[in-house]
C-alpha cells in the first residue's frame, strides 16, 4: 500500500468516493466558529514549492492548519535550490528536520513520483502539480464540485459521477489538470470529452479513456459540466494557434455559447482565468460558473486527503499502481 498521492490515476473508485465523502464532512468545519480540528496535531507538513503557485500553496496551507498540522513553507526562489541544490538534497534536508509529509509542486513531470519512489525520503508525498503530468487534488476538488452541483450535497454522499458528461476545453497538451481530470472522472464513471485545436491535443491521446472533439458547439448541448482550461498567450508564438482572436472565436466560452448548454450545466475553471481568451467576463461572473466554489472546495478536499493519508497509522487510501519493478 502506498502512502502517497501522486496521480489521480492511482485512485480506485472507492478511494475517490471516500475522499469526496470525507471532504463533505471537512467542508462543514468551515461553517463552525472554530475552523480547526486537532487531528494532525504534532505532524509536520512541508509545502515544497519549486514553482510559483500562491493559490495552491495557500489552499494546502489552510487545509494543513485547519487540521492543526505544523506547516513549513519552502519556496525555491531565493533558496539554496536556485543556487543549484538538487531536489534530493533539498528533500533530505527537510526530512532531517522531521517532516511527516511533503506537498510538492514542481515544474518537472514526475518529480513527486521520483521523490516518493527513489528512497530519498520516508515522508508521505502529495503531488500539488508536476509539470504537465498530474495535479490530483485539483481533479478531486473538481469532481467534488461536480458531485455537489450535479448530484447534490447530501444526495451525493457515497455516489460517483456515473453517466455525467464532462467537457474539458483548451490547452490539453500542456495541462496537468486535464490529465488528472480525465483519469479521475473516468474512474468515477463520467464520460469525458476533450475539445481543443488539434495542435493542443497530445499525440497518443487515443489511449486515454475519453473522446476528443475539435468542435465546441457540437459538444456543448451534451455537457453537464464544461471545464475551461487556461490558455497561455505565449502558445501563440509557438504556432499552436494563429491569434488570440481566432482562438477565442473557435474555442472560447462566451454568453452565446453558454446558452447552448443544458439548463443545469455548470462552467468550471481551475484558475487563474484569462478573461477574454478562453472565457468572457460575462460567463466568468455568471451564476453557472463555479470558480469561487472550486477554491473553497479545494481546502476541503486537501483536508480530506491529508487526513486520509496522515490521520492514522497507515493510509486509508489504497492505490492501484504498484511499485515499478526495476
Amino acid at each position: 500500500m502506498q502512502r502517497h498521492l501522486i496521480s489521480a490515476a492511482d485512485l480506485t473508485r472507492d478511494d475517490a468516493v471516500l475522499i469526496l465523502d470525507t471532504a463533505e464532512e471537512m467542508a462543514r468545519v468551515a461553517d463552525r466558529p472554530i475552523k480547526k480540528l486537532p487531528t494532525l496535531r504534532g505532524r509536520t507538513v512541508v509545502n515544497l514549492f519549486f514553482e510559483d503557485s500562491t493559490r495552491t500553496r495557500i489552499s494546502f496551507e489552510a487545509a494543513e492548519k485547519r487540521l492543526s498540522a505544523d506547516v513549513i513553507n519552502f519556496t525555491a526562489k531565493g533558496s539554496s535550490v536556485s543556487k543549484g541544490e538538487s531536489l534530493k538534497d533539498t528533500a533530505q534536508t527537510l526530512e532531517a528536520m522531521g517532516v511527516d509529509a511533503v506537498v510538492i509542486r514542481h515544474g518537472a513531470s514526475g518529480a513527486p513520483y521520483r521523490l516518493a519512489t527513489s528512497g530519498w525520503i520516508d515522508a508521505a508525498v502529495i503531488n500539488a502539480g508536476d509539470g504537465t503530468h498530474q495535479h490530483p487534488t485539483q481533479a478531486l476538488l473538481d469532481a467534488f464540485t461536480m458531485r455537489r452541483r450535479l448530484v447534490g450535497r447530501d444526495a451525493g454522499i457515497g455516489q460517483d459521477l456515473a453517466g455525467k458528461r464532462i467537457t474539458i476545453v483548451g490547452d490539453v497538451l500542456h495541462s496537468r489538470v486535464a490529465r488528472s481530470n480525465v483519469d479521475l472522472l473516468h474512474t468515477l464513471g463520467a464520460e469525458v470529452t476533450l475539445v481543443a485545436p488539434p495542435t493542443l491535443v497530445p499525440v497518443g491521446v487515443e489511449r486515454w479513456p475519453c473522446e476528443v472533439s475539435y468542435d465546441l458547439d457540437a459538444v456543448l448541448p451534451k455537457s453537464d459540466a464544461v471545464m475551461m482550461l487556461r490558455v497561455q498567450r505565449e502558445r501563440m508564438n509557438a504556432a499552436f494557434f494563429p491569434t488570440e482572436r481566432e482562438y477565442s472565436r473557435r474555442y472560447g466560452l462566451d454568453g452565446d455559447r453558454m446558452a447552448k448548454m443544458p439548463e443545469h450545466a455548470i462552467v468550471m475553471h481551475p484558475g487563474p482565468m484569462v478573461r477574454g481568451m478562453e472565457i468572457t467576463a460575462e460567463v466568468a461572473d455568471s451564476e453557472r460558473c463555479t470558480v469561487v466554489e472550486q477554491v473553497a472546495n479545494g481546502v476541503s478536499i486537501r483536508m480530506a486527503v491529508l487526513y486520509l493519508l496522515l490521520g492514522g497509522n497507515e493510509p486509508a487510501v489504497s492505490h492501484a499502481r504498484t511499485t515499478e519493478e526495476k
Partner: protein
Amino acid sequence: MDKQEKLETQAQGSDARPVLEGPDIARVLTRIAHEIVERAKGADDVVLLGIPTRGVFLAQRLAAKLEQITDRKVPVGSLDITMYRDDLRMHPPRALARTEIPGDGIDGRLVVLVDDVLFSGRTIRAALDALNDIGRPRAVQLAVLVDRGHRELPIRADYVGKNLPTSLRETVKVLLAEEDGRDTVLLGAKPTQ
C-alpha cells in the same frame, strides 16, 4: 464503543447472551427521558447530540420521548468525534460520520451527549473536545444505554440505562433496529486472538 471492539464483537459466536431486550431498551429510554426532564427542570433548553453511529439513533428516540412528555420539539443532532480521538495513530484513518448541529446551535444550552456504551471514557473525552470547538453550552450531560465500567478517565454518566458489570475479557454489543434490524444488548466473550 471502539470500532475495533465492535468488529471483534461481531466476530463472536453464539455464546453472546442478551442482557437487555427490545422492551427493556424502550423502558430505560423512557426512564432516562423522564430523568432529563426532571433534572433539567422542563428540558426547555436541552439539545440532544448523539455520537455516531448508534448514539444518534438513541438520541432521536430520546427526543421523541421528550417531545411526548413536554409537548415541545427537542433539538437533536449528531456529533462525530473521529477527528478528536486520542488513538487515531493506532489505526488506519476512519471514514468520518456526520456532525449535525441543530440550527440554533449549542451556545448557552444544556447539551446531553448520547452514546450506546460507556467504557473507557475516551470517546466522551473526545466529544467534549469536539463540543468545545463548536460552541459554549451552559452545561454538558451524558446519557448512555449501558455503562460497562472500566473507566480510564474521570468521566461518569448522568443518565444510565443499565449498569452492567463486565470483565475486560467480555464485549458488549448494542443492536438497534435502525441499524441492525432489532433491539438488543448482547454480552459475550471476546474471541481469543
